[in-house]
């Protein structure tokens, strides 16, 4: 497993598309959490509004600012990341190259999932690090008092954010294993994240009782609730909600992550490779 892990890490590190995904996730995060609010702050009509905007950018809000976009847009990027990492192996035919080296299929698979987990952790840490720097820069430029959040809160925020992105990444990876490619998985996955869940929550749930119950078990809804439980602003940030509490959200996401891994592993193990 370690041999395939190190091979996977080398591939992920050297692939330009992965750096593009990281850059887009980071830029979107900084633009909507800091750049746009900062512009709004400079142009605010009144003192109270300006104060409010500035407070939102302060270091104590690092967690909700960093993970606020994870249920939707960063989630879609994580899904794309998972789908291209797995799916392009089918397109290039490289799966036969790796499978005819030494590790068995499951060892190879374990190394691959582990490498994705490390890569997703890197994405989360980079977003937190740049968020922290930006909010430090804003605070010191406005001579605001800086209240850094407790380390435990920071760790909970980072691990919660990792769980959300990892679940979406595994969703993309699983679809790629099932469909043996990447185009369809990206399309279906993004439609699910940005469209289908929305329809279930906003349309179907109001009309059908079972849809109302069902929404509490959707991955996106639970991701949004986890963000809210970690300090996110429900109703204000798209995708963030209070449908369920933090404990349930964590458990449901973890269950999805495990289920995606199992389904993906079974697909790889049982299918033929040509």
């Amino acid at each position: 497993m370690l041999s395939s892990f190190s091979a996977e890490i080398l591939k992920l590190y050297k692939r330009p598309a992965n750096w593009t995904i990281l850059a887009v996730a980071l830029i979107l995060s900084l633009v909507f959490n800091y750049l746009v609010p900062y512009a709004g702050y400079l142009g605010a009509d009144n003192e109270r509004m300006a104060e409010g905007i500035l407070a939102g950018m302060m270091p104590e809000n690092l967690v909700p600012n960093s993970i606020g976009g994870f249920p939707l847009f960063a989630g879609a990027l994580a899904l794309t990341f998972g789908a291209i990492s797995v799916g392009s192996e089918y397109g290039w035919g490289t799966l036969k190259t790796s499978l005819t080296q030494k590790p068995g299929r499951m060892a190879l698979f374990a190394g691959q999932i582990l490498a994705l987990a490390v890569a997703v952790a890197t994405i989360v840490l980079v977003i937190f690090a740049f968020g922290a720097l930006t909010s430090y820069a804003v605070a010191s430029s406005q001579s605001e008092a800086m209240d850094w959040l407790p380390v435990m809160d920071l760790l909970r925020g980072i691990s919660g954010g990792w769980l959300i992105l990892m679940t979406w990444c595994l969703f993309g990876a699983m679809l790629a294993f099932l469909f043996r490619g990447m185009a369809l998985p990206i399309g279906l996955g993004v439609v699910w994240i940005l469209g289908v869940e929305n329809l279930i929550v906003n349309v179907a749930a109001a009309l059908l009782d079972f849809a109302d119950d069902l929404q509490k078990f959707l991955p996106g809804v639970n991701a949004g609730s986890l963000v809210a439980a970690l300090g996110g602003r429900a109703g204000e940030t798209p995708g963030v909600n209070t449908a369920v509490d933090g404990t349930q959200a964590t458990l449901v996401l973890a269950a999805y992550a495990v289920a995606f891994v199992v389904a993906a592993g079974m697909a790889l193990q049982s299918r033929e490779v040509s």
């Binding site: 080398l10 050297k14 490289t94």
Partner: protein, 299 residues
Amino acid sequence: MGKPLIETKNLTKRYGASIVAVDGVNLTIRRGEVYGFLGPNGAGKTTTLRMLLGLIRATSGSASVLGHPPGHPESLARVGSLIESPAFYPYLSGRDNLRVVARYAGVPKKRIEEVLGIVDLTSRARDKFSTYSLGMKQRLGVAAALLKDPELLILDEPTNGLDPAGMSDMRELIKNLGRGERTVLLSSHLLGEVEQICDRVGVISGGAVISEGTVGELRGRGSVLVKANPLDRAREHAEKLLGPERVEESDGMLRLDADAAAVAGINRELVNASIEVSEIRLAERTLEEVFLEMTKQGG
């Protein structure tokens, strides 16, 4: 002689109800030999090799590779392979691709430069795989197959896409690789290639192995063709010399079951009997003739 390196028993692969890609193949490949797996397009060569590597599963029958079932990590660790076309990561350089493969295989890094040298790709190793010519891609595929310094090398049409010089280099390389203990299983639809490189040949057609033996055995003995006048007297003398069962007549010529060493003697006998010999030559069946004959019957 020990256990064969590869042994298959009634190995069969079906796709759906109608396609039998591989049909009850029995192969025995011994340590140290260079075995040619010869067959026309669609004969089932690649499918058989994929089964031997555990990429696809046999519908029925069994195979063992280096004493393990196909795809077992213990056997994969000792097998280098290139199946169909070389598959690598387009965004990585040739060298980085080999680094990835070496990591999967658990092979030390210094081996990478060695195999790049063997296939003569060192000077282009820094370039991206996507920029490689077909021949360079093929050579990188062979380099990857050699990383493990494998006991068994499985090469599926390794000269595909190479120019004449490249083909000749590749054949030389495979011959050298096959010297000594290493075993090579090479598939090809090129007779000349198999003839040059291989110790033993299995001919596959329509999914079944229809013949097996050394190149010489497959080709059969040569014969001597004689054009003479008068033909019936020539026949009498030839029969006296070789025995009637070794002489036949076709297209106004005598076909004698004899080899090159006998040509001079036959000529002297006929000329001494005042028979006019206008042509005497050796007729060796080419492997191509044999092959076409066999695959026509088989297919």
